[in-house]
Amino acid sequence: MLNGLGSLRTLSIIGLFGVLGFSSAFANEPPASDEPGSVSVRLYQLEGSLPSEDPNSSQWDSVPSSEFNLAPQVHWPPRIQEVTVKSVKVKGVHNGQELAILVEYADPTEDGADAAALEFMVGDKPAHFAHGQEMLQVEGGPVNIWFWKNESGKAVDMSAKGFKTLETQPHQDVQAKGVWQNGIWKVVFSRLLKTDDAQDVQVEEGEWRNVAFAFWDGAVVDGLVKEKGGQKAVSTWWYVRAEPSADNSIFGWVILGLALAAAFELVIVRKLRKGQSV
């Protein structure tokens, strides 16, 4: 037995290395690992009021951030090849009633036309990240866009389903506040988790929602605003979720699992003690 298993081990390890060595001959180089690795934004649960008004509030310091790369918008015309904002750090909090999302990105100059936007899928149907444009083989849904511009100093709650359908909602539910400091924009968007407006994204605690980001550098170059309209930095869809409150029913299931396992064990041990087959 000892002999047998010894050689089994040797053989299997040799075989495994052989197979892997063979496959490494064809392997592509591993992907670069310098990219920001986030895939989701977690809205941490806080007690009491949220730092919705103050992007520099010390409350934000303790909240971990996610980071996402951005790309110049090359998906539809008017395109842009080079953008100012390369990546964004995102933090989120909620208190069961409201949510606040802080976006933080580098932009060397403060300009009136600087702007930031969050985009969400609304409803069950997937929407394309580009304004929920029409998909050919999949029935898509609308998107909800929260748009902030430095000039106006406030957020606009918008909806779209396809290009050229972007419109300001009759019912405005979103607030935003931006602060520029040392080449960094910090913008906080806030809203109630749930609204009565069917055009809005409804954030349910514990459920995943899709979010995308867009930023415009409003610097004036050669008499023209550098980025505006479709010319912007964008991301595709990522996930966001409001951290749920502790759910005590989980412990019920855990106890059930414990009890079942213990009962199973008891039966097995009893059988073994009686000398029965298992």
Binding site: G4, G15, S23, P30, P31, E35, G37, V39
Partner: protein, 620 residues
């Protein structure tokens, strides 16, 4: 869209009116003899004018048809597979003059007769459901295939008559009349083949329709039957039916073995289980080749369908398929190996090493086979890999690797069988040593050649790989099987038996592993049925007639798998019931204790048979 459909129905009616006189006479005959069929032809065409689909509340028309069709197909697979090896068994018994093979063949046929009626019953239910639920589609197919319906009915009559004569005439046609009985068995298989390939053409036409040119109804039906995937499916199903039959017989023997109370019963069903497993494994060896051919034809016929199957939304299905086949290969080999260690006393030490070698090779192959091209990964894992494709292990995901390992697994399983065959025997022939050395050398060369071709396959254009390398791999494996089998048979002819096989000593887990194998095969057939049906996506007839019902979508794999599991369980219950009914008579006969009349397989020495199971066998 509806207007196009209605236009087509108008053409159906016109088509029926254009039928030549002979055919009208034929349909008249059909009306007389086959009211059900007449409803298929007549009922559908009238209804189709107004109704395209009917639904069944609750379960839904698609699910209902799914259950019934699956049961019918599985039963039919069994009913068509069993006569093949029952007949071969009878032939072997007749040639070798060993009565036990004749008895076994008769026992197989008993299972067959009892399953036959149920198969036909489900076929009838299926037909009524199809006519009722899919009148538009059935009208189209009727228009296309009506003459073949008549042929099918005729074959069915012949098959039934032959089966009756074959079964009830068994004891009467012994001795001189045996050759006639064997001829009946041959006819039975011939008609069974016809019964399978005619409806296959209807189903393959749905998947790969051809343009039907001018001609009378018979010519048109013949043109439609000759569609590109017809013969690949025929061959694939024929082999698969043998596999299904073998493993179900094995499972039946396994259950009877577990339930057995007397020593004789244990010995008999142990032997029967061995034969069932053997038949199943033997059929399984060429099956991947047949599957490969079918897939190739599908790709040639329509790339879109091929991609849907292998790279599109059904790609995940092939991970499940690899898993099921893997369990099946492991289970079948496990049973072989347990057979060696339990039936041949004192052989354990001798076979430990080779078994371990085979096990490791099998597991390595399975590891490669089951590694999917696109992995199941969380978003974060995928980001670390740079997509769902692993930079290192992704190379296992391609066809070249899969073909290579499946060939090696087949080789290993074949060698497992050869080892079992030679176990407990000592070659006496002078040339035995040389023959064994040659066989060993050939095996090593074949293994290396298969792997080298597999690796090389990565570096050549796909077309060369498909047309030459894969074919060469298959041929190498087939060559080994074709040369080793007679060579071993020759060696065994003169070999002296050192240790007799002892039947009836297999542990309980052997019975369970036979059941497991059968479940795997049934699940595999259900899975591939789902794949075949889903590869048509939203078409009734691919590219020709669209499915416009509420059920035009293909369900997700998890839901489908739950449904397949349900179907498998129902099928197991049906089969258990049929077999239970079939063996009621035996129990009455077996009441008086007369164990000595039971067939004791093998040339068992009395001293070795029986005895209390050893302590280890109590454990499952």
């Amino acid at each position: 869209m509806t207007s196009a459909g209605q236009l087509r129905h108008a053409t159906v009616v016109q088509g029926m009116n254009r039928m030549p006189g002979l055919l009208k006479f034929g349909s008249f005959l059909a009306l007389l003899f086959l009211p059900a069929l007449a409803m298929a032809a007549g009922g559908a065409e009238i209804q189709a004018m107004s109704v395209e689909y009917r639904d069944v509340p609750g379960i839904g028309s698609r699910n209902l048809v799914w259950v019934v069709a699956q049961q019918h197909l599985l039963l039919a697979g069994f009913v068509l597979g069993v006569p093949i090896f029952a007949w071969i068994c009878e032939l072997v018994g007749w040639k070798t003059k060993e009565q036990r093979y004749d008895k076994l063949a008769k026992e197989f046929t008993k299972l067959l007769t009892s399953a036959y009626a149920t198969t036909a019953l489900f076929g009838g239910i299926l037909l009524f459901l199809l006519i009722g639920l899919y009148p538009k589609l059935m009208a189209y197919l009727t228009d296309m295939f009506f003459p073949s319906f008549l042929v099918y009915c005729l074959l069915f009559l012949l098959e039934t008559a032959t089966l009756y004569m074959y079964w009830y005439g068994w004891d009467y046609m012994q001795g001189n009349k045996k050759t006639f009985h064997l001829f009946l068995g041959f006819l039975l298989n011939l008609f069974a083949l016809g019964i399978m390939i005619v409806p296959n053409s209807w189903a393959t036409f749905q998947a790969s329709p051809v343009v039907v040119g001018e001609g009378d109804a018979w010519a048109r039906a013949w043109m439609a039957m000759q569609n590109p995937t017809w013969w690949p499916v025929n061959i694939h199903r024929l082999i698969a039916n043998v596999v299904l039959g073998g493993f179900i017989v094995g499972a039946y023997a396994g259950v009877r073995y577990l339930l057995a109370v007397s020593r004789e019963e244990r010995e008999h069903y142990d032997w029967m289980g061995y034969v069932g497993n053997f038949i199943g494994v033997f059929g399984m060896l060429p099956l991947p080749f047949a599957g490969y051919w079918l897939m190739r034809e599908v790709y040639q016929y329509n790339q879109q369908m091929g991609i849907t199957l292998m790279g599109g939304f059904l790609a995940w299905l092939f991970i499940l398929q690899a898993m099921l086949i893997g369990v099946l290969f492991l289970g079948a080999n496990y049973y072989f190996w347990m057979g060696i260690t339990h039936r041949i006393p004192g052989s354990e030490g001798q076979y430990k090493k080779p078994v371990m070698g085979m096990l490791i090779v099998l597991l390595l192959c399975l590891g490669v086979w089951m590694t999917p091209h696109s992995l199941v990964a969380s978003l974060a894992e995928a980001q670390k890999m740079g997509g769902t494709h692993h930079p290192l292990l992704g190379v296992f995901g391609v066809m070249s690797a899969k073909m290579t390992v499946s060939n090696i697994m087949i080789l290993v399983t074949f060698m497992s069988f050869i080892m079992y065959w030679r176990a407990g025997k000592q070659e006496t022939a002078g040339w035995a040593k040389a023959a064994k050395a040659i066989m060993g050398g050939l095996l090593v060369i074949a293994g290396i050649a298969v792997v080298v071709l597999g690796v090389w396959g990565y570096f050549v254009p796909a077309i060369i790989r498909i047309n030459y390398f894969s074919v060469a791999q298959v041929l190498i494996v087939l060559f080994i099987m074709v040369t080793f089998t007679p060579l071993t048979a020759l060696l065994m002819k003169s070999a002296k038996t050192t240790t007799e096989m002892v039947w009836g000593k297999m542990p309980i887990r052997a019975g369970y592993s036979l059941v497991l194998n059968a479940v795997m095969v049934i699940l595999l057939m259900s899975l591939m049925g789902y794949a075949r049906s889903s590869s048509r996506v939203h078409w009734h007839i691919y590219g020709v007639m669209r499915d416009t019902s509420d059920y035009a979508y293909s369900p997700a794999l998890g839901y489908a798998a739950a449904f397949m599991s349900l179907n498998t369980f129902v099928f197991c219950l049906i089969v258990a019931f049929i077999f239970w009914v079939a063996t009621l008579g035996d129990k009455a006969k077996a009441q008086p204790p007369k164990g000595s009349t039971m067939e004791i397989p093998g040339h068992t020495a009395p001293a070795m048979a029986g005895g209390a199971p050893s302590s280890g066998e109590k454990l499952e």
